[in-house]
């Protein structure tokens, strides 16, 4: 892992901790969605690329009638994708969450980056996502995603 990558992970983890506190205080996930929206805008500005580059391609690229760009839409797109990767009962993340609630944001981000082999450019997006995971817990996240898959969301 390079020094610059370590710095990005550290900053992302710290942001996740701050957001987790905010979510717990507010009692909803709005702060995380706002932050996610902000990270997407920052990605677009720093790279010059459209945010669609961050999303999984489930089909050919298209020309749209209009463009939505809400943090919540990104969360919806990533939630399904992450469930496949993170909800395995033998995964490192599951082990970490089982140990208790004393884990730090950077540690969770490091585990996710290593498990998913995330490209550096998209690590900052995982600050708000990790905050959601830390707030609601991995079990609730996996259950909620499973419910969505079954059409009960």
């Amino acid at each position: 892992m390079t020094t610059s990558m370590e710095a990005v992970i550290k900053a992302t983890g710290e942001e996740a901790e701050l957001l987790t506190a905010e979510i717990r205080e507010d009692g909803d996930l709005a702060a995380a969605f706002r932050a996610l929206e902000q990270r997407v805008v920052e990605f677009e500005q720093s790279s010059g690329k459209d945010a669609s580059a961050l999303l999984p391609a489930d089909d050919d690229a298209g020309l749209r009638f209009l463009r939505n760009r809400h943090g919540e839409d990104f969360w919806r797109a990533y939630r399904k994708r992450l469930q496949k990767e993170l909800c395995s009962s033998h995964g490192n993340l599951r082990k970490m969450f089982r140990k208790g609630s004393s884990f730090a944001g950077p540690a969770v981000v490091t585990t996710i980056v290593t498990t998913l082999q995330l490209p550096v450019a998209i690590i900052p997006l995982f600050g708000p996502i990790v905050a959601i995971l830390m707030s609601i817990g991995l079990d609730a996240f996996c259950d909620a995603t499973a419910d969505t898959e079954n059409g009960t969301d």
């Binding site: 010059g48 690329k49 580059a53 391609a57 050919d60 690229a61 298209g62 209009l66 839409d73 450019a121």
Partner: protein, 555 residues
């Protein structure tokens, strides 16, 4: 099987729904989200649409393979809403959100079909699909190389990579990159790829635009107000789609004063200022400034007479149409030709010059205006190829592509897809020859491109999948374009990356040797082809003769 009833949608849900709906130019498809069933509309909106259908005598509903209705109203365009008629009265009684719902529902097919027409009936469309075909052939050489090890299979979008040690020195990558970067430049290249060092500026309608080069290959301009955006072909395509929708709304209201409010309602709901990407609004705002005292498109809508708004939209439609007629290869003939974006800028400057000279653009028709531009010496000197040579060149290019790139596509399904595309494009180029810029589908009366298609009986030839003989690409074709998008343009992580690598390995088998062939000019030509094919077509690098060489029997 009967479809379960869809819950009624509020405008916010409709916006989300349409946010997912798109036209997919590579595979000539509309996304499934495009097929919004009529009964998903709110009660008021549905009531209006039903009256409109019965008033216009539309008794047919187009149904796609999933059994869902394609918005049929768009197929009956020639009936505007009479003042005091049942449709207008009903519309006036709707809430603002219901009005927006109706307008979105009616114009959505026009928007997406405009993209379809632009990709199949213009020289730009030929460049697009020919590049796509050449890209596949280049992938046949590149994919076996990059898939050989997990280390070389990077999980970042290859299209916009600046430096990549694992790809350095790969001639297969150098070849593929040419095509991939064309598509990336069309949709929006990364900041590093935009070179603004030329420092040449141009004033257009009071706006300072600076010239820039994308990937050191494509010319464009950017505005100082939006330093991270440059004018790109996608913007021209989206502008035409929005313009057609707006002209259709004006037509529905007979270009009366009530149309102004409808357009404002439409823009506020679907393309609000500051919340829409510049692809939809930049050109509209820039062009609106051709009127003195107008600073943006929304100001133009608020202040100009509705007849003038319609003429302005027609002019802009014509200019974008003119831009898309840039020949597919820019190095043909003796002089250099310019691409769509430069053609747009030069055409707009031509309008600005005429406005300064004549104070008002008095034109018989937009087609005669565009045909007249072909005789303008300044435009010719700048490299704006007149329409007839461009159409002729497009046909030649299609013939060339069909015997070289397309013949080298080793996958039967993919080859057959390109065959369909090029056949349709050849048909349209031949239809258009001798008619200048005139095109019922390209410059539709009232903006309704779908209605124009039906009138021309070309709907089946355009391969619309809801038409009687509509085109449905093979599953293999759909899968390839999905994998292509993921591989070249998206970030990937986790198991997804390895799964993609496995799919690409299966699709692109290793390369094997070809026998050498002595060309008549004395040059020996050889090559390597995928193990799944026996023949390889190429042009002699020296004399340009087309050659067919075979795979080595023992490989």
């Amino acid at each position: 099987m009967t479809q379960p009833p869809t819950p009624k949608m509020a405008l916010t849900d409709l916006l989300k729904h349409y946010g997912d709906a798109e036209y997919r130019p590579h595979s000539l498809r509309l996304s499934s989200a495009a097929m919004l069933p009529l009964h998903a509309l709110s009660a008021g909106a549905l009531y209006l649409v039903d009256i409109m259908l019965s008033e216009s005598g539309a008794n047919q509903r187009y149904t796609n393979s999933d059994g869902r209705d394609f918005p049929a109203v768009a197929f009956t365009p020639d009936v505007s809403w009479k003042k005091d008629g049942a449709v207008r009265t009903t519309y006036d009684r709707l809430s603002e959100t219901e009005k927006a719902e109706v307008l979105g529902f009616l114009t959505f097919p026009i928007h997406e079909m405009t993209h379809h027409v632009d990709h199949l009936t213009t020289p730009f469309g030929i460049l697009y699909h020919a590049s796509c075909c050449a890209e596949y052939v280049a992938m046949q050489r590149f994919a076996p190389e990059i898939c050989s090890s997990a280390e070389s299979f990077i999980n970042e979008p290859l299209a916009s990579l600046r430096d990549c040690p694992v790809l350095g020195g790969s001639s297969a990558w150098d070849n593929l990159r040419t095509w991939v970067r064309f598509f990336d430049a069309c949709r929006g290249a990364p900041n590093w790829a935009v070179d603004s060092s030329a420092s040449a500026n141009v004033q257009l309608f009071g706006v300072t635009l600076s010239y820039c080069r994308i990937y050191n290959s494509f010319e464009s301009v950017r505005s100082l107000a939006f330093p991270r955006y440059y004018l790109r072909p996608t913007s021209l395509l989206e502008t035409r789609a929005v313009v057609h929708s707006l002209r259709y709304i004006l037509f529905l209201f007979d270009k009366q004063e009530a149309a102004r409010h409808a357009i404002q309602c439409y823009i506020d709901s679907y393309y609000p200022a500051g919340n829409s990407t510049l692809d939809y609004t930049f050109v509209l705002d820039l062009f609106a400034r051709m009127y003195s005292g107008i600073g943006s498109f929304t100001q133009l809508i608020a202040k100009a007479p509705t007849e003038a708004i319609d003429s302005w939209l027609l002019l802009l439609d014509g200019l974008c149409w003119y831009s898309l007629q840039a020949p597919p290869r820019l190095d043909f003939g003796s002089s250099r030709a310019v691409g769509p974006v430069e053609r747009f800028i030069f055409g707009a400057l031509h309008f600005a010059r005429r406005l300064a000279r004549e104070r008002e653009l008095k034109i018989k028709s937009v087609v005669s205006l565009l045909n007249g531009m072909d005789t303008d010496k300044t435009l010719q000197e700048l490299g704006c190829t007149p329409i007839e040579p461009s159409l002729k060149h497009s046909l030649d290019h299609l013939a060339d592509i069909r015997t070289t790139s397309m013949a080298n596509v080793s996958n039967k399904n993919i080859r057959s897809h390109f065959q369909h595309v090029f056949k349709a494009q050849t048909y349209f180029m031949r239809q258009r020859q001798g008619h200048g810029y005139n095109s019922f589908t390209g410059l539709p009366e009232n903006g309704n491109v779908v209605g124009s298609l039906l009138r021309d009986r070309e709907v089946d030839y355009l391969g619309l999948h809801f038409a009687k003989y509509g085109y449905q690409p093979n599953r293999d074709v759909v899968d390839w374009f999905s994998d292509r998008e993921s591989f070249l343009f998206r970030y990937r992580f986790g198991a997804e990356n390895e799964a993609l690598r496995n799919r690409l390995r299966a699709r692109f088998p290793p390369l094997v040797g070809c026998e050498s062939l002595l060309c008549k000019c004395g040059v020996t030509v050889t090559g390597r082809v995928p193990s799944s094919t026996w023949r390889y077509y190429c042009r002699c690098p020296t004399c340009g003769v087309r050659l067919r060489i075979s795979r080595l029997a023992n490989s």
